[in-house]
């Protein structure tokens, strides 16, 4: 049954995933963590980290990984988890295949019109909201710890969050390099 749900979920994500890889991440996060509870927010965060550091589109990477983790967490064997990742990836790509072929066949001339332009006038600000929500939803005790649980880890986490934010947004440090720096910081400060 989980395979059917994986298929439907990732088909929906492929169909409504506007705004590039990160826009899609907020959908994947909502479906796999908040809605289906297939994984914890820490597991999801790890998936994003690994998807960012490996080659290929972040949407494909995270769908493959999320499909694997969802089936593995449900208690199935590794071959079935592989099938889960194939299901998620295939379902994510299928709407693109259908839509792009339809557009290539008949709708090419309608794509750069005022109508599409005005739809995006509404979509673009909403995608900003999607990303903001994904950020807020990932600020969990699992990712940051809490002041009462472990004050030291909480402090270090907040510092790493702010440093990475400043580093990538303002100083324009490469995100992959930033992940490696914080892995090193984690090893030294949080071992």
């Amino acid at each position: 049954m989980i395979f059917l749900y994986l298929f439907i979920t990732f088909f929906e994500i492929g169909l409504f995933g506007f705004g590039g890889g990160y826009g899609m991440l907020s959908l994947i996060q909502h479906e796999t963590v908040e809605h289906w509870h297939w994984m914890t927010s820490a597991e999801f965060t790890d998936i994003v980290a690994i998807s960012q550091m490996t080659p290929g589109p972040i949407g494909i990477n995270s769908a493959t990984y999320a499909g694997y983790t969802a089936v593995k967490n449900a208690g199935y064997s590794v071959p079935l988890a592989v099938l889960g990742s194939a299901t998620a990836t295939f379902a994510l790509v299928l709407p693109s295949l259908i839509l792009m072929v339809l557009i290539s066949r008949m709708f090419m001339k309608y794509m750069q019109t005022r109508t599409v332009h005005s739809i995006f006038l509404g979509l673009r600000p909403a995608v900003v909201g999607l990303l903001a929500a994904a950020t807020l939803l990932l600020m969990t005790p699992e990712n940051f710890s809490t002041p009462t649980d472990n004050l030291w880890q909480f402090g270090v986490s907040c510092f790493l969050f702010l440093a990475s934010f400043y580093g990538v947004l303002i100083v324009k440090i490469n995100p992959i390099r930033m992940i490696l720096y914080s892995a090193l910081a984690g090893l030294v400060l949080l071992y």
Binding site: G17, G20, G21, E31, D46, P55, M100, L123, P175
Partner: protein, 179 residues
Amino acid sequence: MSNLYWESFRTFFKIGMFTLGGGYAMIPIIEEEVVNRHRWVEKEEMLDLIAIAQSCPGVFAINISIFVGYKLNKVRGAIMTALGTALPSFLIILAIAMFFHQFEDNPVIAAMFRGIRPAVVALIAVPTFNLAKSAQLNKFTIWIPIVSALLIWLMGVSPIWIIIVAGVCGYLWGKGVGK
């Protein structure tokens, strides 16, 4: 199967294999391969394809690869190029997923990921601000992301509904102004 199937599969496999960061980082590499090297698509046509692929849902690089594959060999060509783009990611991630499950309890790896997690949350926060800049929010539109974020964060509304409603509202607004 003609040689073109294999050639287009191989080209997009290479593109999928060697682009770190994904998405828009792939544009120059796709252009180099598809426009300059293989001449499958004209330069102007490529600009149109990029614009259309960006306005469609789904993974950007996959969308582009489907366009090119369809142009070369219709539906079967599109399947080959999409497969070529997705396969390297799929295989690499699968290898890591199997490997990582054995090591996630290792104290060294666990400590590294305790450091990585807050940084990754920041990496998702950064495009929020970059996107806000390129969406050119003003005092009439600034409430849209705020309300959307609060609905998802506090009320548990699905982002899919936000997307649908925002698209429909944009469409209706365009209609209203057009008259």
